[in-house]
Assembly symmetry: C2
Homo-oligomer: 344 residues x 2
């Protein structure tokens, strides 16, 4: 019921003008010749009554909302929610809040999200972009709004971006399996045009071919009922009994793929080699536990926020940077005695 006090109230209580209070509040006191005595007076009163300026009013006048818009495919995905947490941690220290939106990897949803975020006057965007959103992002940039892309590249667009080396990650994953004696590695990936998926595929292909093998790729349609995904993978394994290792291109696929493997009730179940792109806390609990290509989440977040802050504080033109980070291979309790592994 006690209504919030405004800068006008403060000014009246102290018998000074709003201007003076505002100057003090914004650290522009000294440069505007407000006396030290006055500064102390205002500051201590502010402190005492716990006054905090209304962001709406500030935002209206300055055009800055102190809010960052974050758009990812799905905030409930562990990868993205972990990142969201880190962003929050870092951006809070800079006085920013985050509003989020899930794109569902859908262009129209994303377009609408961008529109809503614009109306909310967010100061900057952090986006894991869906395909086909180039034009809209270009428009943002041309309007001078800071945009940082991550997780998925946006080819043909010169924009700040932070990505991981999907190609190398997949290559290393495959290499690891080969080095452990596996001969028939299938890659299970998404039936999707996402660039990062194509890169992972390329890494796998390249590695297998260099070793003189023949790539085997199983593509699963996303967002279908997971039972379907499981059945598809199961089918494949049953039809290709020589398969002795699986490289899952995403966590989501591994989740279902592991069930498929279990369902097969094949002897291979505990001998099969498994590597997954993206790590999970649960992987270490399987036996044999699962090796993963993990993304450097911490680094991604600091790079993204650094780029963002740079843009937000930007005085002069700066050229967009494209940062590519290496992945980490987490080798767990490696698979199985190498010699016994193959079933050739």
């Amino acid at each position: 019921m006690k209504k919030k006090l405004s800068i006008k109230d403060i000014a009246e209580q102290l018998n000074v003008s709003k201007t003076t209070v505002s100057f003090v509040l914004n650290g522009k006191a000294s440069e505007n010749g407000v006396s030290q005595a006055m500064q102390r007076k205002v500051l201590s009163y502010i402190e005492k009554v716990g006054y905090r300026p209304n962001k709406m009013a500030q935002g209206l006048r300055t055009g800055k909302s102190k809010t960052i818009g974050m758009m990812v495919e799905d905030i409930s995905d562990t990868f993205f929610s972990t990142i969201a947490r880190k962003f929050e941690e870092i951006l809070t220290t800079k006085g920013y809040k985050i509003i989020y939106g899930s794109t569902e990897n859908n262009t129209d949803v994303t377009k609408e999200l961008i529109r809503v975020f614009r109306n909310h006057q967010v100061d900057g965007y952090i986006i894991a972009p869906p395909p086909g959103i180039e034009e809209d992002i270009k428009a943002l940039i041309e309007d001078g709004v800071p945009v940082i892309i991550f997780d998925r590249p946006l080819t043909e667009l010169d924009v700040d971006s932070v990505l991981v080396d999907n190609y190398r990650g997949a290559y290393k994953a495959t290499q690891h399996l080969l080095a452990n004696g596996y001969k028939n590695i299938v890659m299970v990936t998404l039936l999707s045009e996402q660039t990062q998926m194509r890169e992972r595929e390329r890494g796998y292909r390249q590695c297998v071919e260099e070793a003189g093998g023949k790539p085997a790729i199983l593509k699963i349609r996303y967002h279908e009922k997971k039972e379907k995904a499981i059945a598809d993978i199961e089918q494949y394994l049953k039809n290709n009994r020589k398969t002795d290792a699986v490289f899952f291109a995403t966590n989501y696929l591994a989740e279902n793929g592991l069930e498929a493997i279990a369902n097969c009730k094949l002897a291979i179940a505990d001998r099969i080699g498994v590597v997954v792109f993206d790590d999970s806390n649960w992987f270490r609990l399987f036996k044999p536990s699962i090796t993963a290509i993990s993304q450097p989440i911490e680094a991604i977040c600091t790079e993204v926020t650094n780029l963002l802050m740079e843009r937000l504080e930007q005085k002069k033109e700066i050229a967009p940077k494209a940062i590519v980070l290496p992945t980490n291979m987490i080798i767990r309790n490696s698979s199985v005695p190498v010699k016994k592994a193959g079933r050739t």
Copy 2:
């Protein structure tokens, strides 16, 4: 570079007043006697140029930001991020955006978050409250701000809340284990004063005692390094060889507890009964797969948002509601042949 257009621009282009445009925009045209012709004219122009009002200005004038503040212990936790996603889904359809903050279950952090949210003029709060925050929340409510509590009760405070029946959930979990022939069930829980944890403990205790057993409770300190948690649980199992089943009070504990069980390398490893409070997609992948008490996430979200919308649209006083939802037991591939289970 093309600067966004304002209602003033629209008005000038159309040779009408801002007032008229505003009335049309807010659906208050007819009740204010704006002619149909004029309404169409404005509407079609708005549509054509894609004008959208500035939320900052609207917010300043109306005091409504169309933003909801969500505070949970940790947004990267699967339970909370899943909920965050659902909230987003529902609230988006009502024209709201969400800003979030992680409380770390810390009172001071939460106090500051509330302060920040207030400055941002959020229209409503959805909070999974840490202990000791009663006063601050009471203050919010007294100021007439909608607050919905979930996940954790705030005893002694009359506020809208949505909780699950932790007591019954834990009771059922324990009962399930007993019914399957397990005799020595240990409950692994957090060393924490959180009410919902105490309820779970109470459910377990009650059930064991009713069956004439002696409760065994192992409390783990949270936020410690997980290696410590694993070691503690491992230690317990080694010191209490009669233990034939474990009831984990949280997902987090199960994650580490399962590793502890594996580390024990005891014969019991594949015979031990395991039930976890909170479900996880990964549980079905273990063998024997893990039974879980799952929270009705969908229902929690609809109840919370319903209460919230009710408050937001509230005309007259309404008494706070406390909603308690039942948990679901997800029995998976049940444990093990009952007879062989015990090791007595």
